[in-house]
Symmetry: C2
Subunit: 77 residues, 2 copies
């Protein structure tokens, strides 16, 4: 697995994230999957650990969920 | 602004995301800022729109919060 896979569902947040990530990573390095349309791939996304969309499955097999962790208020606290 | 800035706070989630993103984007393309240590930069992060960490400020000025959007259950619903 050498490409990242960007899972999304066509939501505005997804589209914004997709545009940024494809630009940053390079279009050749990312496969984009709309699991809102390709519903058969929902189970695939779940199997690799996608908990929410948009999410990026990296070539290392890790999932980056694009949008949570700790709030900046927590950092300041 | 040609580099992305990765804001984090040293949390395990942050470290994992940092390793992935630096690998994917290339170390030369990302500045890493630990606002848990560089507390003077917390306000900078807030000013650019960082709501939580880890977060990536792209060269376009958009902030990608690494971890939320809609749950995969929402996609299925």
């Amino acid at each position: 697995m050498s490409k990242s896979i960007f899972y999304h569902a066509g939501c505005p947040v997804c589209v914004d994230a997709e545009q940024e990530l494809v630009t940053l990573l390079g279009a050749d390095n990312v496969s984009v999957v709309n699991i809102g349309e390709e519903r058969a791939r929902i189970s695939e996304a779940e199997a690799v650990g996608v908990k929410s969309v948009p999410a990026l499955l990296t070539p290392n097999g890790n999932v980056l969920h694009i949008n949570y962790g700790a709030s900046i208020e927590d950092v300041k606290a």
